[in-house]
Amino acid sequence: DTAVSQTPKYLVTQMGNDKSIKCEQNLGHDTMYWYKQDSKKFLKIMFSYNNKELIINETVPNRFSPKSPDKAHLNLHINSLELGDSAVYFCASSQTGTHRFGPGTRLTVL
């Protein structure tokens, strides 16, 4: 059983386009996150949701908008994609402190 799943796994798109990444967890966790891993493998929190409510919004451009339709899902929509948005985006969930991560979505902006 896949605990945290993301779609798509790979996303290649042109600058200026809008794209979405979907995340689902079947662990029953209340808290979900988006992390970004840059080309140097550095990981940084972007957003955190607890039971569908936004609780952490790090300094992320307004072009990034998370949406949580229910506590099992946390999607990430990105408007007007830029070259610098190219990265791997990881979804995660947690309940007792331990984060469980999804497989990641590699976004390449051309």
């Binding site: 209340d30 808290t31 996150y33 992390y35 140097k40 493998k41 550095f42 990981l43 940084k44 929190i45 955190s48 607890n50 952490i56 790090e58 990881f90 947690s94 309940q95 007792t96 402190g97 331990t98 984060h99 469980r100 991560f101 999804g102 497989p103 990641g104």
Partner: protein
């Protein structure tokens, strides 16, 4: 503010030798400390965590870590490394339960046969 330092970009060891990956942290209050491993083109896998209790924590795949409050360290160890342990290792800290993780820059471990 919370932060993690992994002073070594790379660690190289021979198979069968002990492996140590270093981590120091800074956080307000009692730390929640974690180690994750990332294999090439894969997600992050949880290895172990320290929240409270015994300073020596045992985790997956024969790894363990020792929490040292006075040195603010949480080094990852394995008594006998395997070639399959070659991967990117991340230390992370959180100030509380179900709060964001702050990651170190990662340490690439290479175990040679």
């Amino acid at each position: 503010a919370q932060s993690v330092a992994q002073p070594e970009d790379q660690v190289n060891v021979a198979e069968g030798n002990p492996l140590t990956v270093k981590c120091t942290y800074s956080v307000s209050g009692n730390p929640y400390l974690f180690w994750y491993v990332q294999y090439p083109n894969r997600g992050l896998q949880f290895l172990l965590k320290y929240i409270t209790g015994d300073n020596l924590v045992k985790g997956s795949y024969g790894f363990e870590a020792e929490f040292n409050k006075s040195q603010t360290s949480f080094h990852l160890k394995k008594p006998s490394a395997l070639v399959s342990d070659s991967a990117l290792y991340f230390c992370a800290v959180s100030p509380g339960n179900d709060y964001k993780l702050s990651f170190g820059a990662g340490t690439t471990v290479t175990v040679r046969a």
